[in-house]
Symmetry: none
DNA sequence: GTGGTCTAGACCACT
DNA sequence: GTGGTCTAGACCACA
């Protein structure tokens, strides 16, 4: 019940991001049911409304679909869609900004390369 | 009035970050005066209180000093201090998280390397 | 499983409306048997209880009658009854609201006339 | 405090639709401030969260913009955007369905024409 | 002053 | 069982 949540971000958003991560890493398969709103609420000791808000945002993005009276399910194609959009977002938006910042800090390519797991001694 | 501010972050924080960037890239030299609270407020169409909050946070970090009746000035040594702390923060906190995220997205070292300015054709 | 149901309306209601449409257009004749609850449930991949609820609402309105051990049948006079009530409902309730909305949208009589099948070129 | 809300639709949705109607009919001008969440909550005797949900849906559709710590404002171009999208939706989606239904009911063009305000005796 | 978020608990409709 | 909606009231950050 502590250390689970980062207090600087809304819980519903963090829950959303965790769910996305689960889809990406395969622990939530496509067509699989998401844990029910109530279950998650109990498990994480948060309000059902908060869970609902997180899930709804996924529905809005077309990653999850509701089946009335049954539950919420990962959409077919959700993983592929996520991979594409997240990669695109990173490469076109985040990376250029990051590069600019690194330049400003005087950090070089080598500095990063040395800290990329598995590359420390190879090259 | 549009595109100037990212609505997901407090304006005062964005102003702080911009000021830091100016110190880092040298457009705000050490010992130089920061533009006055009023001036910034007018220029950016924001509340003077917001500017004040941004400047105060810089004072709190020892990057800027207030000289009563005169204005706010970049501290001597501010740039060096910034370089050190920002580098440390990036390498120990941000980079590891980023690496984890990239793995999840299936983005490889090569993908980034190809987009590091000046390296596209070298290696 | 996709496109069959409008997620904004209860499934049982949509099934009811479809059945009514079948009676109106004559594909479900008076005195004819409705497809069995089980059959519909299988065909549309929905819960038998949901089908039951739809049929029951038709019984409540006197459009369909249950014959124990045999099945459900369209009542004699159902079509005439439907025509009268639906016309009345449309003209007195729906059309006035629609007219108000069209005004707000600046849509004119002509705009609709042009899209009434068979009138495009007549007048 | 009674008769204000239709119990068949969520309040937040009805509030959304009312606001849209206000923009369309000009009682809410572009760039004008929407009444504050709290004010609406008091005026209509509903929960601030419900108002918030309504307003947020307008923000999501790009019809309203938030100005941090100041309030919510009708976007420039919101009215034009609304007119275009609502007309399009009506003519391409709703009207064809309506026409089919009217045919089924045996209602003719004349029946509607007679009830279009201001046309009863003209033509 | 503004809106954002969360809780605790209730009631509802649908399957 | 499922999710959707709403209330009442709290606390927070921002301007």
């Amino acid at each position: 019940m502590s250390g689970l949540w980062d207090d600087n971000q809304p819980i519903y958003w963090q829950l959303r991001e965790r769910t996305i991560a689960s889809i990406l890493d395969g622990s939530l398969k496509e067509e699989a049911a998401l844990p029910s709103v109530r279950q998650v609420a109990v498990d994480f000791q948060i309000n059902p409304l908060t869970v609902s808000k997180a899930y709804q945002s996924l529905v809005d993005d077309g990653l999850v679909e509701k089946r009335r009276g049954v539950g919420m399910f990962v959409c077919a194609g959700a993983r592929r869609q996520l991979l594409a959009s997240e990669r695109e977002k990173f490469l076109s938006e985040e990376w250029p900004k990051l590069v600019a910042r690194l330049r400003q800090l005087g950090l070089d390519w080598k500095d990063l390369e040395a800290r990329w797991p598995g590359r420390e001694e190879n090259e």
